[in-house]
């Protein structure tokens, strides 16, 4: 595949060899220049020659190929983009010849291109140690998308995989093998992992963390031969006499600069390889430049993308007549390897003369941090972080900007106890501080962008490209932008959507103070347009929290999310699941039998939930009312599993039965569940009650957790499980039941009033200014004088409780909603089940297709008869 655009005689011909990340960045610089002068009369003619079958892609995030990212998603550019900007590019076009005198290059296809400026951006190649047997099938490397495809194919016919090399790339590769489901080993020659970036202490911790993930690590192993295996495909024999059997081997033992062209055509290279360049990235030959991992500057190869990008900018500027220089680059890195956070800054090994170290190691939490400071103890010159890189940004800014360290620098890496850490706020950074090193964006550039009219974080991202490389600076960028915006008096917008210029808290206030009962009133008075899928359910939720009317009343019905509208949880095929309330998880055998009978009669898939209830799946919308009629007649009521409201109060068996229980946790759970059921809240609410300190109900993972003590109840608040688990905080101890209920009333109603839409209690509390202490003041000390009001508001909701399903099936109009078609009693033919483990499950699209074919065949057969 190639494009061609003829160069005119007056144009400067630039030929770029290689289209990796750096080569592409160089082209992008020239495109930007062209755009600024007008592409049509550009003085540049740019040709790109790539040895790979595709244009540039993101090698930094290559391992995401195994977690499902496609080659297209990894692409950094498209053929259309190059065509649009008249870039003449050729794929599969390795360069085989350079004629420095005639100034031409020749591709493997024999095509000759002349140049005025030649850029070598050939990158690097994986180093494969010279071990006999390293060239057999299933002995692979990790560099290109084609390599990954080969690894993927090999892993399908392998059980065990070994990565040779325990550096950064090696561990990335090990992660890929692990993701592919192989038993994974890492074999390293050095005594530790990531020996370049991490010191001995950090290396030990890193190893134990990686081994805990199931990857076996073998250090100080020199592979001597790769022979046929006894039980696996291969056997790796080590110098110390030991061996390891494996089905595939992945070499990731470092990279070597791809300097073959320079070698063959007498361009100066370093003793150990790499094309020698000066501060302008020029080689020793006029008009030939080298950038990225193939270039050797000051006897150093830079194997990271950020320095490569800097070289690309410097070379482009030099060709265009500018005067930027490349003066080395910071090699600090922060990354997550198999979920393990690792950070390395500057002189990680404290090799600088007179350097002093501060080390913090917490084996219990598996965290290791080391700071290296200069002999004056004033400047940070290096750091190693393993297990927790939250201090990385701050430390990096100290190191890069030479900021004087605070009086007790160790506080920078010690866990904050009580007081806050000596933070390095965005304001403390000098204008020269580099925020994004991939795109070389300084704090000064960001301020200039705001001066130039940018008004938001996303504006800054699009005009400076900050945070669009490795993304490691995103948190820092946000805090710099926020600080800058607030300095300019810009309020951070909290509008819920385009229809209301208010936050949820403000809407709640408007509804309550204005005594608004319907969405129409709210929209007419305070909004515009028709509303949307964001503000309608939020308003319905607020109206329910304040007035607690039947949510399917004609005024409210069009506001509800489908789960609320049909009082069930919609599943992927459009059917619903049914969860009746089983307060505290206590249920009689008779009721269990009813659930079984309903499940059987309607052929529903049955499963026990995490909240001690029973979920019946696969009910069609038209079946819901009759199923619920049976359940309600048997004494069940709705479980609100579909709603943003109280779900369950989980309980352990408590003192009634348990030898260790000190209070009746089941009784308490039932009481609480019955009190708060039906309370609509900003997000779902989960409770649990444990009967003793053994905590079998897992109350500390709930929004409201209660643990029995000899003297009463300990109350925990604002925990949750799910995507970002958080332990609940101890709120009050040894409460009697009356006080317990009073506090819960107040906490929940305060949350309902002030939280954002879809904000769980944990995030809500963390965002309250003053956090837990403030919440205690409001609830326990009644510092706002709101206590009585919050309690009476809760009582209104409790008194207005009704079983929504009972109301729905008794009401003719509501019942009409539960049909698939207004004009037919037929069922939705797209709902098809197959059997698995003696129960139904939704058919896959392929199963549905074959089912439809069978139906058609039957129909045709009938017609023929």
């Amino acid at each position: 595949m190639s494009t061609s655009a003829q160069a005119t005689n007056s144009q400067l011909r630039i030929v770029v060899v290689g289209n990796g990340m750096v080569g592409h960045h160089f082209v992008d610089q020239l495109i930007e220049h062209n755009t600024s002068v007008g592409a049509d009369n550009s003085a540049l003619h740019i040709s790109v020659l790539s040895a790979e079958p595709r244009l540039a892609y993101d090698r930094v995030h290559l391992s995401e190929f195994f977690s499902g990212k496609s080659a297209d998603e990894l692409a950094l550019t498209t053929p259309e983009y190059y065509q649009q900007h008249k870039i003449d590019y050729k794929l599969n076009a390795a360069v085989t010849h350079i004629d420095k005198v005639a100034k031409t290059v020749t591709t493997v296809q024999g095509e000759v291109l002349s140049y005025n400026k030649l850029i070598l951006a050939t990158g690097s190649y994986p180093f494969v140690p010279p071990i006999p047997g390293n060239d057999q099938p299933h002995c692979l490397v990790y560099r290109t998308i084609e390599d990954l495809e080969a690894i993927s194919a090999s892993s399908k016919v392998s059980k065990i995989g070994v990565v040779v090399g325990g550096g950064l790339l090696g561990l990335e590769a090990a992660n890929a093998l692990k993701e592919a489901g192989l038993e994974t080993h890492v074999v390293e020659f050095a005594p530790q992992l990531m020996a370049v970036q991490v010191d001995g202490g950090g290396g030990r911790l890193l190893r134990s963390k990686i081994e805990a993930l199931g990857v076996k690590v073998h250090t100080q192993k020199a592979t001597q031969t790769i022979e046929a295996g006894d039980v696996c495909r291969y056997k790796m024999c080590f110098a110390d006499g030991s061996f390891l059997e494996t089905d595939m081997i992945l070499f990731s033992a470092g990279i070597r600069p791809q300097d073959k062209l320079a070698r063959e055509f007498d361009i100066a290279i370093g003793e150990r390889g790499g094309i020698v360049v000066d501060n302008h990235c020029q080689t020793n030959i006029d008009d030939i430049y080298a950038i990225g991992e193939c270039a050797l500057w000051n006897n150093f190869i830079f194997g990271l993308v950020a320095p490569g990008y800097t070289m690309a900018r410097v070379a482009a500027a030099h060709i265009l007549g500018g005067d930027q220089t490349f003066l080395g680059a910071d090699m600090s890195t922060k990354l997550k390897l198999m979920g393990v956070e690792v950070g390395s800054i500057g002189d990680a090994h404290a090799k600088t003369a007179g350097a002093l170290c501060y080390t913090y190691e917490n084996q219990a939490s598996a965290v290791y941090k080391k700071m290296v400071v200069d002999s004056s103890k004033k400047k940070l010159i290096g750091a190693v972080l393993v297990g927790d890189t939250s201090d990385y940004d701050t430390l990096l800014q100290y190191a890069l900007n030479g900021i004087d360290l605070p009086e007790h620098p160790e506080a920078l890496i010690l866990p904050a106890s009580g007081g806050a850490k000596p933070g390095l706020g965005a304001d403390a950074l000098p204008a020269t501080a580099t925020i994004c090193s991939c795109h070389n964006v300084s704090k000064g550039d960001i301020i200039a962008a705001f001066d130039g009219g940018a008004c938001s974080l996303s504006d800054i991202k699009s005009c400076t490209k900050a945070s669009s490389g490795c993304g490691g600076c995103s948190a820092l960028l946000k805090s710099v932008c926020d600080a800058e915006l607030s300095k300019r008096g810009v309020e951070v917008k909290k509008d819920i959507c385009e229809h209301f210029a208010y936050s949820r808290q403000e809407l709640f206030h408007l509804v309550k103070v204005g005594k608004l009962q319907t969405f129409d009133e709210l929209l007419t008075k305070h909004g515009k347009g028709l509303g949307c899928e964001v503000c309608k359910p939020a308003a319905a939720n607020i109206l329910a929290s304040v007035w607690n009317e039947f949510i399917l009343k004609p005024d409210h019905v069009s506001l509800q999310d489908t789960n609320d509208t049909y009082l069930g949880n919609m599943q992927k095929d459009g059917t619903y699941s049914i969860i009746p309330r089983i307060a505290g998880g206590e249920i009689t055998p008779d009721k269990l039998i009813v659930l079984g009978q309903v499940g059987k009669k309607y052929n529903l898939y049955t499963k026990i939930t995490g909240g001690q209830r029973i979920d019946l799946f696969g009910a069609r919308v038209d079946q819901l009312p009759e199923i619920w009629k049976i359940l309600i007649d048997a004494g069940f009521e709705t479980g609100h599993a579909y709603a943003k409201s109280l779900r369950t109060v989980k309980s352990c068996v408590g003192s009634t039965w348990c030898r260790y229980g000190v209070q009746d946790s089941v009784g308490q759970a039932i009481e609480l569940e019955n009190r708060y059921k039906g309370l609509r809240s900003p997000h779902k609410l989960k409770f649990a009650v444990s009967g003793c300190t053994r905590e079998c109900a897992e109350a500390q993972s709930k929004d409201i957790g209660i643990i029995a003590t000899e003297n009463g109840w300990n109350l925990y608040v604002c925990g949750n499980g799910g995507m970002k688990p958080r332990h609940a905080d101890l709120f009050a101890t040894d409460l009697d039941t009356e006080t317990l209920v009073k506090y819960i009333d107040r906490v929940l109603m305060f949350y309902v009033r002030t939280a954002d839409r879809l904000q769980r209690t944990s995030v809500w509390m963390e965002n309250l200014e003053g956090g837990l202490e403030y919440l205690k003041q409001v609830v326990i000390e009644d510092s706002l004088g709101l206590g009585a009001e919050l309690e009476s508001q809760m009582q209104v909701v409790v008194d207005a409780y009704q079983c929504e399903w009972k109301t729905a099936i008794e009401n003719e109009e509501s019942r009409k909603r539960f049909r698939q078609f207004v004009n037919s009693d037929k069922a939705d033919t797209n709902i098809v089940f197959v059997e698995e483990r003696q129960q139904i499950r939704p058919a896959t699209p392929e199963e549905k297709a074959s089912f439809t074919q069978q139906q058609q065949a039957k129909r045709i057969a009938v017609e023929l008869v």
Partner: protein, 115 residues
């Protein structure tokens, strides 16, 4: 069938729900019908009930929303919004669903469905 311009009565106006949807079955095709109250006016819309992204017949159960002047329905499955008058998906460039002409004749809701 050759006559493709016939209007078919599918239900009565009273079967529709204001600012919400119902579904009709016509020649084995599922069609979602919406009645939108907008500035005192009532507008009817008919679109395919099949959500091509969630792959289920559920669009009539979505929430109605306005995006500027466009009236759309948000799929109850993954929340993509579909314009009720053009059928284009506002959240995915390459997805469009079918829309059908709809009218009200003496309280009868009528659709024009090509045969």
């Amino acid at each position: 069938m050759t006559n493709s311009t016939n209007w078919i009565t599918v239900c009565q106006e009273s079967d529709l729900v204001a600012n919400s949807g119902v579904c009709a079955l016509i020649n084995e095709q599922q069609i979602a019908l919406f009645k939108v109250k907008n500035a005192g006016q009532e507008q009817l819309f008919a679109i395919s009930n099949w959500d091509p992204i969630g792959e289920a017949n559920v669009l009539y159960r979505g929430l109605l929303c306005s995006v500027g002047d466009t009236v759309a329905v948000a799929s109850p499955l993954y929340k993509q919004r579909f314009c009720l008058s053009s059928g284009t998906c506002l959240d995915s460039d390459d997805v469009t669903i079918k829309v059908y002409p709809i009218r009200l004749e003496n309280q009868a809701v009528q659709l024009q469905v090509s045969q």
